[in-house]
Amino acid sequence: MSKGNQIAIGAVLCAALLGWYGYSQLGGAATYRYFQTLDEFLASDPASATGRALRIKGYVTNGTIDRALEERSERFAIQNAPPHGGGTGDTLAVLYPSLETPDLFQDGAEVVVEGHVDAADGHVVFVAENVLAKCPSKFQAAAGAPEAASGTNL
């Protein structure tokens, strides 16, 4: 067998090893999350999703942001449709054990929360490890993120 082929086989073996290692890390570092809208998540029996890594997109319901300084956490609710667009509907309570929500985080902002469900005492609460507010689109002016802009009063 030519050396070139030997090297290729060696490369494939290394790749397989790496892939196997990565697969073993699936629960940890290489974990993937399902990315859903809030409606999709609520439709799929939220309580049963306990412990799974999730990523949910929604809009911050007006008036629900509660910053608890002593506990170093924030609570808020998200809903599926933008509040200023007259959207209502089911909401999901979110607990974010940190005070550093992103700059764009405000009433009506489009957010993506990453974390897991905690349905301990019958209440479904989403414990967020990460809260992302809509990134300013480079290719449209901020008016391209109308949800964040018009839903607020300054």
Binding site: A30, T31, E100, D103, K138, A141, A142, A143
Partner: protein, 666 residues
């Protein structure tokens, strides 16, 4: 006025079509007149694209809000430089910029090679024009920067550019990226021309070497500038998040790095010819794909192609056609491309470069898979799966270490088959340096084994570079009686690519040193009342006051925080929390105290209703080595690229300083 722009683009499209036909005719028939028509067409497309650019620049400068594009991306309150930079702030304008750069590169590459390799010219012209034609179709019919607003909707002031992007780095970041992306169209076109004409030797990449180096260096700097901007402006303490848009620009750079190295093997030993064509094909395809990813928003949104719409499909179609065409030729030409030479030993420079290629491809696959998984999983499984930074860091961490190792190993290992003697001679010192560093760090730090492995490898590479320079300088000083500075200059002149390349490697090692420091990052969230204190590591912070910042375009608060190390006062840091009025855009601007050892990075998270302030404090060890590494990278790249007078090869000629001066024509 805008009509001039529209008509320029129409004309350019017509000329491009003519030029493509002429190029194909010239290439097939060998008649120089047709080739000349094709080349002139490239020049004319450049002229008309330039006119269109000037028209758009003018409209932005005078705030002509009858144009939809100007109204969407510019505003009267923006200073002139940012109004002009708004040209690439949106989709239509940046496609026009792509087009203009394509024409500029095409015209200059053809002009630079007008006297030699004329058989390639018609195909190069046709290829560049075909690429330009796609962007011309887009900007003429689908997303024109010169569309006018209906008279009822003309505004008196525009939306303006997102204030986060009104930063000097962001002004030039897209320009750098595009200069890089579009630059690879030159080697791509020459590779295509080489395959079509059957000129499968080293010609195509030798004559495009500086073009490839330039594009690669500029793209690299653009990537790192993006990271620096994120660090300074986005305020999350980091500089790279494996965001799809970041990955879209990184992937072609990875492929291009592999390509730039792999061609050395074809030059020296006439091997890896198929590899090199495949690598440049992948590079350019990824440039197009990266533009598609960034423009169409296909990955970020929860549900993909419905958001990307027609634009996504058309662009993806173009990428697929270009790739199929190019790789089709590679397959068609695979027999004459196969090398007659064989790898003789796994312990050889040729084999190391092959390993290098494979590892880069693996890294490329990891990044591509992680970036595109959401799209593929939704398409195939109806569930959108996303992977986070942890996935990327895991694999990039392992593969990056292998690449770093090869950076030191490759230049030292002998060609064809390394003997035990040569291994001992070349590697004793660098290996010792690497292992010793790792041991010392291991004993001192006692955690983060991967970081210690990285730093050990960095020491290995630095030692190998120093060894190469010292040996060569000593030989010149001893053998030719040159002084140190002169020997250094001669070395860079006589073997520009090798010794300049080492400087580039050194820059990358510094970057790795800096990135590895992130393993020891510290962060802390503190809530303090005025007069209160917080601590992180050896640093003490005293929260002094917060003042409002009434500016014309934004308001908010600026906190004043006194920084001490122990009792020694260092600085007053002033993190800000801003609100941009027009755009309703909040923004956190960090205060950064930088030393070579680490950055102290402070974010004003909020001024709370009870008058206290919440701060996020970061300690980022070694992060400034990254930016220092970029500077070294730039110096090294300039050294490698610097135009050198063509010199006839002389085997073993002994020359004195004076003779070399005469040779150089100084």
């Amino acid at each position: 006025m805008a009509e001039i722009g529209t008509y320029s683009l129409r004309l350019a499209l017509l000329i491009a079509a003519v030029g493509i036909a002429a190029g194909i005719r010239g290439g097939l028939s060998g008649q120089a007149e047709w080739t000349r028509v094709a080349q002139r067409s490239v020049g004319l497309v450049f002229v008309f694209a330039s006119i269109a650019m000037l028209v758009l620049f003018h409209a932005l400068a005078v705030s002509d809000f009858t144009l939809e594009y100007v109204a969407a991306h510019s505003a009267r309150s923006m200073p002139l430089p940012y109004r002009l930079a708004a040209l690439w702030g949106g989709q239509a304008g940046s496609l026009l910029l792509w087009l203009w750069m394509l024409a500029a590169y095409g015209a200059s590459a053809l002009w630079a090679n007008r006297r030699h390799h004329r058989e390639l010219a018609p195909w190069v012209a046709a290829s560049m024009l075909a690429n330009a034609a796609f962007f011309l179709v887009l900007t003429n019919f689908l997303t024109s920067p010169f569309d006018k607003l209906p008279p009822a909707q003309v505004v008196s002031d525009g939306n303006g550019l997102n204030p986060l992007l009104q930063h000097p780095a962001m002004m030039i970041h897209p320009l750098l990226l595009y200069t890089g992306f579009v630059g690879f169209s030159v080697p791509f076109s020459y590779a295509l021309a080489a395959m079509i004409t059957g000129r499968l030797d080293t010609t195509w990449f030798r004559i495009t070497r500086r073009w490839s180096l330039f594009a690669w260096a500029v793209l690299g700097v653009g990537l790192m500038l993006g990271g620096r901007w994120a660090y300074e402006v986005l305020g999350w303490g980091g500089y790279w998040a494996w965001d799809p848009v970041e990955n879209a620009a990184l992937m072609p750079w990875l492929a291009a790095t592999a390509y730039l190295h792999s061609v050395m093997i074809q030059e020296k030993r006439d091997m890896l010819k198929i590899w090199n064509l495949v690598l440049i094909g992948i590079t350019y395809t990824l440039c197009l794909f990266g533009t598609f990813l960034t423009r169409s928003g296909v990955v970020q949104s929860v549900h993909s192609f419905t958001n990307a719409g027609w634009f996504g499909y058309i662009f993806l179609g173009y990428v697929a056609v270009a790739a199929l065409f190019f790789f089709g030729f590679v397959i068609a030409r695979r027999n004459p491309l196969r090398s007659t030479k064989r790898i003789e030993s796994v312990v050889s420079r040729e084999a190391s470069f092959i390993f290098n290629n494979w590892i880069f491809l693996a890294l490329l696959f990891v990044v591509f898979f992680g970036t595109m998984l959401p799209v593929f999983s939704e398409w195939l499984l109806d569930k959108r799966m996303t992977l986070g930074p942890a996935y990327f860091n895991l694999f990039a961490g392992i593969l990056g270490l292998a690449l770093l190792f090869l950076t030191g190993f490759g230049p030292l290992i002998a060609w064809r088959r390394a003997s035990a003697n040569s291994l001992r001679r070349q590697f004793t010192l660098p290996f010792t340096a690497g292992v010793a560093t790792a041991l010392v760090l291991g004993i001192w730090l006692r955690r983060e084994p991967l970081a210690i492995a990285y730093w050990g490898c960095c020491a290995f590479v630095i030692a190998s570079i120093v060894q190469e320079y010292v040996l060569a300088l000593a030989a010149r000083m001893r053998g030719h009686g040159e002084s140190l500075p002169r020997a250094f200059a001669t070395l860079l002149r006589k073997n520009q690519r090798r010794y300049g390349g080492y400087i580039v490697h050194l820059g990358m090692v510094f970057v790795f040193i800096g990135i590895t420091g992130a393993a020891f990052d510290r962060e802390r969230l503190e809530n303090v009342r005025p007069g209160g204190e917080a601590q992180i590591g050896p640093y003490r912070f005293e929260y002094l006051t917060a003042d409002p910042i009434p500016q014309q375009h934004y308001g908010g608060a600026r906190a004043r925080v006194a920084l001490y190390r122990g009792d020694e006062p260092l600085a007053v840091m002033k993190p800000e929390k801003r609100m941009y009025w027009l755009e309703q855009q909040p923004s956190s601007i960090p205060a950064i105290y930088s030393t070579l050892l680490e950055d102290v990075y402070v974010i004003l998270t909020a001024i709370e209703p009870d008058g206290s302030a919440t701060f996020k404090l970061y300690l980022n060890p070694l992060v400034n080595w990254i930016w220092a590494g970029v500077l070294v990278f730039i110096v090294g790249s300039l050294t490698v690229m610097w135009p050198a007078p063509a010199r006839p090869q002389r085997a073993g000629a002994a020359t004195t300083g004076a003779a070399m001066d005469a040779e150089r024509g100084a």
